[in-house]
Amino acid sequence: MNFQRVFSLVKKDLKKMIREPAILFLTILFPIILTLAFGVSFGAIGGTQTTTYLIGVVNMDSGGPYQQWSQHFIGNLTDMEILNSQIFSDNETAQADLVQGKIQAVLLIPEDFGQSCNSFWEAPTNSSHWMNTTVQLYLDSGSMFATQAIPPITQQVLTVTVYGIQPTDIPRPIQIGSPSLVQAGRTTMFDYMAPGIFAFAAIFLTMTVAQSFADDREKGLLRRINITPTTSTEFMASQVVSNMILALIQVALVFAMAYLVGYRPNVDVASFVLAFIIMSIFALCNVGFGLITAAIAKSSGAATGISFIFIMPQMFLGTFVGAGLSPSAQAAGKFVPSYYVTDALTSLFLRGAPVSSPTILLDLSIVIIISVIALLIGILLFSKYGKT
């Protein structure tokens, strides 16, 4: 292999990336804008802002003889910074707002709430004297954050209301499990989306590679290079190197942009290095898809259209877009490489898994296998049908 040839072709491709506005936008500006837009929309700039959950409270015990208990409970709920309590006069209105997504939960305080609390304090050790009752909690099933965070928070507030801030060691007839410490306030929506966004940006390499090859072929440039002593191996090596460099620049910019909008995964340098490796390998996979597309497409316009055969499934089934899909669609995601990239990055950045985690290594292995297969098929097809 002659490195002078490979290096000169890599240099040419990198100049193309910088000088061709369409490629510059798709490979560099688009991922930056995407990260910025999602980071600002779903992240917490600065990373310290607390997330709040909007909860509707319906107090059916407002006119009862022991209404101070329910007032005390509502007061404690309001004191929680993570909750933004909104009082409703009736359950129907609260439920309507919940269905419309205006609030994330409804807490229904029963008529006998005060009486129940009072009965406990009148005879703390005599359970036969107590009046049992239930506080109803309705949650927005579409909000995974609400379903996970609100129940333990309300349970904690209820415990404090009924038993006091510092419960004594005296055995109690009503046992309420210790509420979990919820730290949802430190995790933004963007933290969940970021790994998918990193994968999302690289998927579009398929289109740029396919367009670039088809365009060079249309203009007779591939044919011209083919007349020189440059071998197919040297040419393909240059493509692999230039696209890997491009992918690394892309990932670095996306990481930098994510950091700017407040993304602060609590991981070490090794995790970042592994993330770069995963993304570089994934870039090669998309180069392979791009070559397959270019081999099939008759023109650069057709290449753009055909490239969506590879882009759309990867985008919808394997990135942050897939989080809200049906279970069957999520299962289908396991057939696209971006799923494993997103999963590995999620394990690294969100779950805080170590680089030697079996899950990450399995994801990485699958990405490598798919990438090698895609690249080999791409090179073979392009060498046979795509060059002239």
Partner: protein, 250 residues
């Protein structure tokens, strides 16, 4: 008299595309250092012949060798010897003129110093030195065609295939290219020139071959052909042999 060494040997070369025979049992020899004009109407098979000789197309039948190397068996050896200026301008519009030329020098693995020297010299000779650092996308059509030619010759090839190198050029550019081609002849390079301009073929070629429907229908020096067909110029010879019917490119 010692016979000259053949740079290009074509034996019964045939190339078919489905039901169209583009080159039909063509046999021809071009001597080393010769400037050979390959003439013919649109679709006669000129470009197909060149594409076979430079290894881009596989012949359907027959054989061809360039610089002593079989084009089918040793295409990489052939590619080291040749420089090809394609009929349709093929330049990277996002690179500068100089970058385009240097890229192709590098693809021929030229030493850096020689590449720099050749690039400067060729850009100067074809009047592109002042614009060498501008992107080719901003060039005029004539400037692109001159860049196209320099890219083919920067590595100083022994054998050059120039496929209509002056098409759509203004008179000044065309004469600059003619002078440049004449210099190649002085340097003992072998040149295959295809052109639609008969005065260009007459001015530059040692010998011309006229092909039509893929077959060689006339071969000789411009003077020999004019005498043989009792014509005032090569254009009359061409019309006599190929007729006046307008052809379309295949």
């Amino acid at each position: 008299m010692v016979p000259k060494e053949a740079a290009i040997v074509i034996n019964n070369l045939t190339k078919r595309f489905e039901d169209v025979t583009a080159v039909d049992e063509l046999s021809l020899e071009v001597e080393k250092g010769e400037l050979f004009g390959l003439l013919g109407p649109n679709g006669a098979g000129k470009t197909t012949t060149i594409n076979v000789l430079c290894g881009l197309l596989e012949p359907t039948g027959g054989s061809a060798s360039v610089g002593g190397f079989d084009v089918q068996k040793e295409p990489s050896k052939v590619k080291e010897l040749i420089g090809v200026c394609p009929q349709d301008t093929a330049v990277f519009s996002y690179l500068t003129g100089r970058e385009n030329v240097e890229l192709f020098g590098n693809l021929h693995a030229m030493p850096k110093e020689k590449l720099k020297k050749n690039t400067e010299e060729l850009l100067r000779k074809l009047g592109l030195l002042e614009d060498a650092n501008r992107r080719v996308g901003k060039y005029s059509g004539g400037m692109r065609r001159r860049t196209n030619l320099i890219m083919a010759l920067v590595h100083d090839p022994e054998i050059a295939f120039l496929d209509e190198p002056t098409v759509a050029m203004d008179v000044q550019s065309r004469h600059a290219v003619w002078n440049f081609i004449k210099e190649l002849k002085i340097q003992n390079k072998t040149v295959i020139l295809t052109t639609h301009y008969m005065e260009e073929a007459e001015e530059l070629s040692d010998r011309v071959g006229i092909i039509d429907h893929g077959k060689l229908i006339a071969l000789g020096s411009p003077e020999q052909l004019k005498e043989k067909f009792s014509a005032k110029n090569l254009e009359e010879v061409f019309i006599q042999l190929t007729g006046r019917k307008i052809r379309e490119e295949l």
